[in-house]
């Protein structure tokens, strides 16, 4: 397992102008690392559906690289999306999975079959163009350039150290974050997109 902050730091130099979306507890680390906020997009809002929304955006903007940092809890709620993504074959879609084997935000309870399930294997058999899996930072660093040059849809499973939250929700301190609507508005202005 490796740390999501370290993973994001290793990814950052290879981002280019990609649109980046995140989910889950680990995804929060990206906010402090990204230096191109106008291309950070939030499409969260329903259980397990950020991956679906990211696919929709990738299909709408085929000339933009779209990078999703999904979580395994989210993916388990919407596993069929692997087939949907593979079926549409978006060449610009990069699906990273941050797998900490638990629901970190609810106290660290394990997800079903947490340590044995093979997400990269599932994505490969679903029909993704390329799949990778990493359980340490060094291998991830050595391969991220190749990953970002690959033709999508690409799936990258990564074992992440869980950052478990045990405080009652009312006592948790949250960093301020931009709303979904704000990220959409800024990103659309950046890309010159108008809603039809």
């Amino acid at each position: 397992m490796f740390d999501s902050e370290d993973m994001f730091r290793a990814f950052k130099p290879h981002r280019g102008k990609a649109i980046v979306l995140v989910t889950g507890t680990s995804g929060r680390d990206w906010r402090d690392i990204s230096d191109n906020e106008s291309r950070d997009l939030s499409l969260q809002g329903a259980m397990g559906q950020t991956n679906s929304a990211a696919l929709g955006f990738a299909l709408a903007q085929p000339n933009e690289k779209v990078v999703l940092f999904d979580s395994e809890g989210s993916l388990q709620m919407n596993m069929g999306i692997l087939g949907t993504i593979a079926g549409k074959k978006p060449k610009n879609f990069f699906h990273f999975l941050m797998d900490n084997e638990c629901y970190a935000t609810t106290g660290g309870q394990p997800v079903p079959n947490a340590s044995e399930i093979n997400y990269a294997g599932m994505a490969r058999e679903a029909g993704y163009a390329a799949t990778f899996q990493f359980d340490n930072l060094e291998e991830f660093q050595n391969n991220i350039e190749t990953i970002m040059k690959a033709e999508g849809p690409v799936f990258v499973a990564m074992k992440m150290i869980p950052k478990i939250e045990n405080e009652p929700i009312g006592r948790r301190v949250r960093k301020p974050q931009r709303s979904r609507a704000e990220t959409i508005k800024v990103m659309q202005a950046e890309l010159g997109i108008t809603v039809a």
Partner: protein, 173 residues
């Protein structure tokens, strides 16, 4: 009998409505009632059909498409709409974008007793979610799709169109 045949709901009429309203993508799970429509949609070069695995996906995929500047319609059955409750809440209603959904009204009939619970709860579900809807029964009702688009765009909300009849196939008449 001739008049009744003329009024049958044709998939061509729905596809014409999609084109008129600038629809670019159909996000769908086919069902038995909409098969003829599915076949016709796939033949349109200006329309991209996105088959999804579960109905909850359709509203989220549609949101991504809308954010990216496209015009999708979700085409699913009422059973799948009910399965999609959280997705409709978070990805359609809360998003503040116009979104039109075409819902197959399985089990509905204007005549006699409705015995299928899928039909009995369809409008109740839409009322609970605060989503307005229009009913298509015959070909003369197809223009209600344009009404749904106008309303969705004016209010930046999802609007449903319930299809209360099987499509009578363009290639099966």
């Amino acid at each position: 009998m001739v008049q009744q045949q003329a009024a049958l709901l044709k998939p061509e009429s729905l596809v014409a409505e999609f084109k008129k309203n600038g629809v670019t993508h159909i996000v769908t799970i086919p069902d038995s009632e909409t098969n003829y429509l599915y076949e016709l949609m796939k033949d349109q070069p200006w329309l991209d059909v996105i088959p999804s695995s579960r109905e909850g996906e359709t509203f989220a995929i549609a949101l991504g498409l809308i954010v990216g500047g496209k015009v999708p319609v979700c085409v699913i059955q009422n059973t799948g709409m009910m399965e999609s409750g959280d997705s409709i809440r978070g990805m359609a209603i809360d998003s503040g974008f116009p979104m039109v959904m075409l819902i197959g009204y399985r089990g509905w009939t204007r005549h006699g007793v409705i015995t299928d619970s899928a039909a009995r709860y369809t409008e109740t579900f839409l009322h609970a979610m605060g989503i307005n809807y229009y009913l298509l029964e015959t070909d003369d009702d197809a223009s209600r799709i344009s009404v749904a688009f106008e309303e969705a765009r004016a209010q930046k909300r999802p609007v449903a169109v319930l299809v209360g009849d099987e499509y009578h196939g363009f290639n099966r008449m």
